[in-house]
C-alpha cells in the first residue's frame, strides 16, 4: 500500500473538567492509507469520537486539547498548527461526516447552496460551473433525483438523502480522507446498508482513505479492512478485520464480539391465557382542522392493526422509524387516542377513562428507549420506583414501600443500598434497569418495551435482554417488544409483526419469518441485521 494519508502517533486528548484535567485518550497511534477503510470501534465513552475530532483539531475550544502526540495529515502536522493552516486542511484534505445529518446541515439554507458554499471556498469555478459540479456531486452520491431540486431545504429530504447530501458536501472539497463518525447510527437499517455501500464505492473509485467510527460490529465486519479497538481511551487491539473477528487477541475485543445478544425466549405454556387482545387499532393525527375543530386532513399513523399476546409471551413489533410501531404501543397503553377494540384481561380498555383507567394502569407498564430521558433527574431512584406504588395505594406504609422498592431493585440486579441515589450517578444500562424496576414494582401483566436496548452498547444490551427474559420466565409478563434490531428481536420474542406505513405487512413466529421472509422490506431488515447461527 502507498504512504498513509493520515498517521497519528502517541496521541493524547485532555479535557478540562471541574475536577482538573482528565486524559480521555492516551497513546493512540494509527494510520490510514488511500483506498483503505479503517474502523475505530469501542463502546460509548471509549474516546473514539474525540480521537476523530482531533484529526481536524475540532475539539471544543478551551476544553479539549492534545497535550502529546502528533497527527500528520498528508504530510502536514496538525497538532499545534495555526488557524490558517487548519482552515486550508479542513474539507480540502480531510472531511468529516457526522452522525445526525439533520443537525449537521443548516436547516435554513437550501441544499444546493450548502454544497455551493464548499465549492466556492475550495475551487476557482465560476457560478455556472459550480452548478454543474453540484449536479455531478449529487449524482455521485446517488441523488440524481435531486438534481432538479437544488432549492430543497434539509427538512424536505429523508434521513438517508440528508446523509448523502452531507457526503456530497464532504466530497466537494476533493478530500483524500473521509472521517465518518457513526455515519449511519441515526438511520434506519435499510438506509444504513445503502449509505455504507456508497462509502465503499467512493473509497474504491476515488481512492479515498476512510476512518470509520462506529460501535456496530456488523458494519465493521462487512466494510472495514482494518479494525482498531478502543477501550477507556487506549488502543487495545489493531489488525486486519478477518483476523480480529476470527482470533481476537485482547479480552476486551473478545468481550465485544461475544456481546451479541444470544439465546432464545422460553416457550409459552400451551394453556397460557390471553392478556391483551386488540383489533382494528387505528391512530390518526389531525393535520388540518376546519372552523369547528373537526379534522379535515389527517395522518394515519396506524391503520387497522390487530394483535393478541398471551401470558409469558413476547410479541415483537418491527419496522423502521415512522412505521407507527411506537404509536401502536402508546395506543395500546391508552396514552394516545385510537380507534378499534382493546380487550385487556377481559375488560374493554377503551370504555374506561379518568379514575377507572388510572387504576387499571397498574397492570400495563412501559419501558422507554432512552434511559437518560425516562427518569426524572430530580428524584432519587427510590422515589422513581416507589411513586407508582404510592399512587395505587399498594404499599401505603413508608417502610414497607421502601422494602418493596429495594426488592424490585434487587430483582433487576441493582444494589438495593443504592435506593437514595440520583439517576445521574448511574450508567445507561443501570438506568434502564431502574426503569424496568419501576415497571415491575407494580407487578403488571403487560409491559410495553419501546426499543429498550437500542440506546445501549451491545454488551449492555445482552445483559438487559437476559434480565427481561428472566423476569418473563419468573413472573409470566406478556411483552410487547418494539424494535428494529432483529438480533435482539430473535433473542427476546416468540412472534413478530412487521409494520410498514402503519399497516401489518407480515407476521408469524420469529423463526419462520426470519427463515422465509415474504416481503422485500422484511428481507432488507434481515440482511441488515446479518443474523447468523
Amino acid at each position: 500500500m502507498s504512504d498513509p494519508i493520515l498517521s497519528i502517533r502517541d496521541l493524547s486528548v485532555r479535557f478540562r473538567t471541574e475536577k482538573g484535567p482528565r486524559d480521555v485518550v492516551e497513546g493512540v497511534s494509527l494510520t490510514v492509507a488511500p483506498g483503505e477503510v479503517v474502523a475505530l470501534v469501542g463502546e460509548s465513552g471509549s474516546g473514539k469520537s474525540v480521537t476523530a475530532l482531533s484529526v481536524l483539531q475540532l475539539l471544543p475550544k478551551g476544553l479539549g486539547s492534545n497535550p502529546a502526540g502528533s497527527i500528520v495529515l498528508d504530510g502536514q502536522e496538525m497538532v499545534g498548527a495555526g488557524e490558517t493552516v487548519l482552515r486550508a486542511m479542513r474539507g480540502a484534505v480531510a472531511a468529516m461526516i457526522f452522525q445526525e445529518p439533520m443537525t449537521a446541515l443548516n436547516p435554513l439554507h437550501r441544499i444546493g447552496r450548502q454544497i455551493d458554499e464548499v465549492l466556492a471556498l475550495r475551487t476557482r469555478l465560476s457560478a455556472s460551473e459550480r452548478r454543474v459540479r453540484i449536479v455531478e456531486l449529487l449524482a455521485e452520491v446517488g441523488l440524481e433525483a435531486l438534481a432538479s431540486r437544488l432549492d430543497a431545504f434539509p427538512h424536505e429530504l429523508s434521513g438517508g438523502q440528508r446523509q448523502r447530501v452531507m457526503i456530497a458536501m464532504a466530497l466537494a472539497g476533493e478530500p483524500r480522507l473521509l472521517i465518518a463518525d457513526e455515519p449511519t447510527t441515526a438511520l434506519d437499517v435499510t438506509v444504513e446498508a445503502r449509505i455504507l455501500e456508497l462509502l465503499d464505492h467512493l473509497v474504491r473509485e476515488r481512492g479515498l482513505g476512510l476512518l470509520l467510527i462506529t460501535h456496530n460490529l456488523n458494519i465493521v465486519r462487512k466494510h472495514a479492512h482494518r479494525v482498531l479497538v478502543m477501550h477507556e481511551g487506549r488502543l487495545v487491539e489493531d489488525g486486519p478485520t478477518e483476523r480480529i473477528f476470527a482470533a481476537p487477541a485482547h479480552d476486551y475485543t473478545r468481550h465485544l464480539i461475544a456481546a451479541e445478544p444470544a439465546g432464545r425466549p422460553e416457550p409459552v405454556a400451551a394453556d397460557a391465557p390471553t392478556v391483551i387482545e386488540a383489533a382494528d387499532i387505528t391512530v390518526s393525527f389531525p393535520l388540518k382542522r376546519n372552523l369547528f375543530g373537526v379534522a379535515t386532513k389527517s395522518l394515519v399513523a396506524v391503520r387497522g392493526v390487530g394483535l393478541a399476546i398471551r401470558r409469558g409471551e413476547t410479541l415483537a413489533v418491527v419496522g423502521e422509524s415512522g412505521s407507527g410501531k411506537s404509536t401502536l404501543g402508546f395506543a395500546l397503553l391508552r396514552l394516545l387516542k385510537s380507534g378499534g377494540r382493546i380487550t385487556f384481561l377481559g375488560h374493554d380498555l377503551r370504555a374506561l377513562s379518568g379514575r377507572a383507567l388510572r387504576d387499571k394502569r397498574r397492570a400495563f407498564q412501559v419501558v422507554f428507549q432512552d434511559p437518560y430521558g425516562s427518569l426524572s433527574p430530580r428524584m432519587t431512584i427510590g422515589e422513581v420506583v416507589g411513586e407508582g406504588l404510592a399512587a395505587h395505594g399498594i404499599e401505603p406504609d413508608r417502610a414497607a414501600r421502601r422494602a418493596r422498592v429495594q426488592g424490585a431493585l434487587a430483582e433487576v440486579g441493582l444494589d438495593p443500598e443504592m435506593i437514595d441515589r440520583f439517576p445521574h450517578e448511574f450508567s445507561g444500562g443501570q438506568r434502564q434497569r431502574v426503569a424496568i424496576a419501576r415497571a415491575l414494582a407494580l407487578d403488571p401483566d403487560l409491559v410495553v418495551l419501546d426499543e429498550p436496548t437500542s440506546a445501549l452498547d451491545r454488551s449492555i444490551q445482552r445483559q438487559i435482554v437476559e434480565l427481561l427474559r428472566g423476569l418473563q420466565a419468573r413472573r409470566g409478563f406478556a411483552y410487547l417488544f418494539i424494535s428494529h434490531d432483529l438480533k435482539v428481536v430473535r433473542a427476546m420474542s416468540h412472534r413478530m409483526i412487521v409494520l410498514h406505513h402503519g399497516e401489518i405487512v407480515e407476521q408469524g413466529m420469529v423463526e419462520d419469518v426470519i427463515a422465509a421472509p415474504r416481503e422485500a422490506y422484511t428481507k432488507a431488515l434481515i440482511d441488515a441485521a446479518m443474523l447468523d447461527g
Binding site: 478540562r16 473538567t17 471541574e18 478551551g62 476544553l63 397503553l333 396514552l335 383507567l357 388510572r358 387504576d359 387499571k360 394502569r361 397498574r362 400495563f364 407498564q365 412501559v366 422507554f368 428507549q369 432512552d370 430521558g373 425516562s374 427518569l375 426524572s376 433527574p377 430530580r378 428524584m379 432519587t380 411513586e387 407508582g388 399512587a391 395505587h392 437514595d420 441515589r421 440520583f422 445521574h424 426503569a435 419501576r438 407494580l442
Partner: protein
C-alpha cells in the same frame, strides 16, 4: 436525608453564580442593604432607642409613652424631638440613646428652615420641600420598594407558574381559552385604570399590590407554558402517566421542576420591573397613599427643585439607580448560573 444533598448540577450552578463576581457581590450588597432597611426603625427614628431616667428604663421605639409618664405636663404621646423634652431629659440627668439618624421619614426637622435645607452634619442628604430628612426617607422608601417588589414578584410568579402549567400540560381547550383571555386581559390600559381607581380610593400598599397583581401575573405564563408543553412529551412524564399518577401530581412533581429554571432566571428582572413600576406610579402620584415614604415621590419633588436643591434629585436618582442595577447584576449572574452552554 438524601433529598437535601446538593446534586452536582446544583453545585455547578452555584459555582457559576459565584464565578460572576459582579453578580455575586451585588447579591451580598443587596441582601445587606435590604437587611439593614428591615431594621429602619432602629436606624432612623424620631424616638430614642433607650431612655434611662431615675432608675427606670424606657424603650420608646417599642412602646408609646405619654408625656406625663416621662415627667412632663400633658397626657399626650410624647414628642421626643420637642425642645422642652430635651430640657426635661437634661434636668433629670437622663441617659438618652438616639438612633444614628434621629429622624423618621415623616419627621419635620425643626430649625432647619428654610426648606429644602442643604446637606449638613445633622441632615446628611439635606431635607425635602416639607422639611423631612432625605436620608430617612431613602431608608424607608428603599424598604417599601423592595417589599412591594418582592411581594408582587412572588405572588405573580406563583399565579403565573400555575396558569402556565395548566395551559401547557393540559393543552387543548384550557390552553385555548386561557391564552385568549390573557391576550384580551393584557390589552387593558393599566395606567388609566389606576388613574380612575385612585380618584375613588386612597391607594394603600395592599390595594396597589392587588391591582398590580391583576395585570402582572401574565409575565411568566408564556415562558412556563412553553416549558410545560415541552416537558409533556418527556419520557419520564409519559412514564408517570403510564404509572397511573393523577394529573395534579404529574404537573407538580414532574413538570413543575422543569419550568423553575426559566422562572428563577426571570425573577430578578420581574422584580426590577415591579420596583420601577411602583416608583413611576409614585412619581405620577397615582401610587401609594400620600403619607407613605417613597422614592417616586421624592423624584417628583426633585423635578421642581432640581436647580435650587440638587441634593434631592441626586440622592433619589442614585438610590433608584443603585437598587435597579444591583438587581440587574444579580439577574445576569442567575442567568449565567442556569445557562447550560457555559463551561464549568
Amino acid at each position: 436525608m438524601a433529598r437535601f444533598q446538593l446534586t452536582p448540577l446544583t453545585r455547578r450552578r452555584l459555582a457559576r453564580f459565584r464565578a460572576n463576581r459582579r453578580g455575586f457581590w451585588s447579591l451580598w450588597i443587596f441582601l445587606g442593604l435590604f437587611g439593614l432597611s428591615l431594621f429602619a426603625e432602629f436606624i432612623a427614628n424620631d424616638r430614642p432607642l433607650y431612655i434611662g431616667m431615675e432608675g427606670q428604663a424606657y424603650f420608646p421605639v417599642f412602646q408609646d409613652y405619654t408625656e406625663t409618664e416621662l415627667g412632663g405636663d400633658f397626657d399626650t404621646p410624647a414628642d421626643y424631638t420637642a425642645p422642652f423634652m430635651a430640657d426635661l431629659f437634661a434636668e433629670k440627668g437622663a441617659t438618652v440613646i438616639w438612633p444614628l439618624i434621629p429622624f423618621s421619614w415623616d419627621t419635620v426637622v425643626r430649625d432647619a428652615a428654610p426648606y429644602p435645607a442643604a446637606p449638613s452634619a445633622r441632615n446628611w442628604l439635606g431635607t425635602d420641600n416639607d422639611g423631612r430628612d432625605i436620608t430617612a426617607t431613602l431608608i424607608y422608601g428603599f424598604r417599601i420598594s423592595i417589599l412591594f417588589g418582592l411581594a408582587l414578584t412572588v405572588a405573580s410568579s406563583v399565579i403565573g407558574v400555575l396558569a402556565g402549567l395548566l395551559q401547557g400540560y393540559l393543552g387543548g381547550l384550557t390552553d385555548l381559552f386561557l391564552q385568549r383571555f390573557i391576550e384580551i386581559w393584557s390589552g387593558m390600559p393599566v395606567l388609566y385604570l389606576l388613574i380612575i381607581l385612585s380618584a375613588v380610593i386612597e391607594p394603600t400598599f395592599i390595594w396597589l399590590l392587588g391591582i398590580m397583581l391583576l395585570f402582572s401575573w401574565m409575565e411568566l405564563v408564556g415562558l412556563v407554558r412553553a416549558e410545560a408543553l415541552r416537558a409533556r412529551n418527556f419520557d419520564y412524564v409519559r412514564a408517570a402517566k403510564a404509572l397511573g399518577l393523577p394529573s395534579t401530581r404529574i404537573m407538580l412533581r414532574h413538570v413543575l421542576p422543569n419550568t423553575l429554571v426559566a422562572t428563577v432566571t426571570m425573577m430578578p428582572f420581574v422584580m426590577n420591573g415591579s420596583i420601577a413600576t411602583l416608583t413611576s406610579l409614585d412619581y405620577l402620584r397615582f401610587g401609594l397613599e400620600q403619607s407613605a415614604p417613597s422614592l417616586g415621590k421624592l423624584l417628583s419633588q426633585a423635578k421642581d427643585l432640581a436647580v435650587q436643591a440638587p441634593w434631592i434629585p441626586l440622592s433619589a436618582f442614585f438610590t433608584v439607580a443603585i437598587l435597579l442595577s444591583l438587581l440587574v447584576f444579580i439577574g445576569e449572574a442567575t442567568r449565567d448560573a442556569f445557562d447550560p452552554r457555559r463551561g464549568p
